[in-house]
Symmetry: C2
Subunit: 129 residues, 2 copies
C-alpha cells in the first residue's frame, strides 16, 4: 500500500469537480470540440460527420447543449433546402475553456503518476508530441 | 461559416471513439487516476477522501470497475477492523493509458483551436504549466 499523504493534501485531490457533466459526456465533448475548432459555425450535416453521430443522437445532444446555452442553432433555407447551422456561444466557449483546464489537470496527474519502463510503448504515448 | 475540409479529413475527426465509457465517467475517472497514482493500492477510506465520493457512490463505481477487470478489491481485517483495499490491475493500467492518449488528443485539438486574445485569462489557462 502507498503511504497516505497528509489529510489536507488528500481531500478531493482527484475529485475533478470541474468536469462539468453537460460537457464531459463523450458525444457532447465531441460536438463542442468541433464547434470550438470552427468558431464561425458548422452545418448539422458537417457536425454529424465530424462527430460520427446519427441524426437522432446529434439532435438530442444539441438540444441539451442549447438548453444549457452553450450552443445556438439557427434554421434557414438555401436553394430551397433546409439548413441547420450550429455555433458555440460566448458562454459555451468560456465554459469549455474552464472544463479544458480541469482536463489538462487530469492529464498532468496521470502523466506524473505513470512511470513505465524507459522506451516502453506507454512512455512514448505519454511523451509530448 | 467555416470552410469545410476534405471529406477524408472530416470523417470522425472529433469523434474520440477511444473515450471508453467505463473510464470516462467522472467518478470512475477520479477513482482510476487516484489508483494509477498509487500503484500499490489504496484503502477504501483513503480513496473516498481523494475522490470526495460517498460510501454508496464509491462502492457502486468500484463494482463497475471490478466487473470490467480494471480494479481488484481485497477485503481483510487489521486489529479487528475490516479493511477494503483497492488496486488497479495490469489490464486497468493499460486501458487507462490508452484512454489517456485520446484525452491528450482532445486537449491538443482544443488548444490548437482556441486562440484567445494575447494575455487573456483563457490563454494563460491553456499555456503549458
Amino acid at each position: 500500500m502507498d503511504e497516505p499523504r497528509s489529510s489536507q493534501q488528500r481531500k478531493g485531490r482527484f475529485a475533478y469537480e470541474g468536469l462539468d457533466r453537460v460537457i464531459h459526456e463523450r458525444a457532447r465533448l465531441s460536438v463542442l470540440t468541433s464547434l470550438v475548432a470552427h468558431p464561425r459555425g458548422l452545418l448539422f450535416s458537417d457536425l454529424k460527420e465530424f462527430c460520427r453521430l446519427t441524426d437522432g443522437n446529434l439532435s438530442r445532444h444539441l438540444q441539451v447543449l442549447q438548453e444549457a446555452r452553450l450552443v445556438e442553432i439557427s434554421k434557414g433555407f438555401e436553394a430551397n433546402r433546409p439548413l441547420t447551422r450550429c455555433r458555440i456561444t460566448v458562454q459555451g466557449r468560456r465554459r469549455y475553456l474552464e472544463y479544458l483546464g480541469v482536463l489538462e489537470q487530469v492529464v498532468r496527474d496521470a502523466a506524473g503518476a505513470t512511470k513505465p519502463e524507459p522506451g516502453s510503448r506507454a512512455l512514448r504515448k505519454l511523451a509530448p508530441a
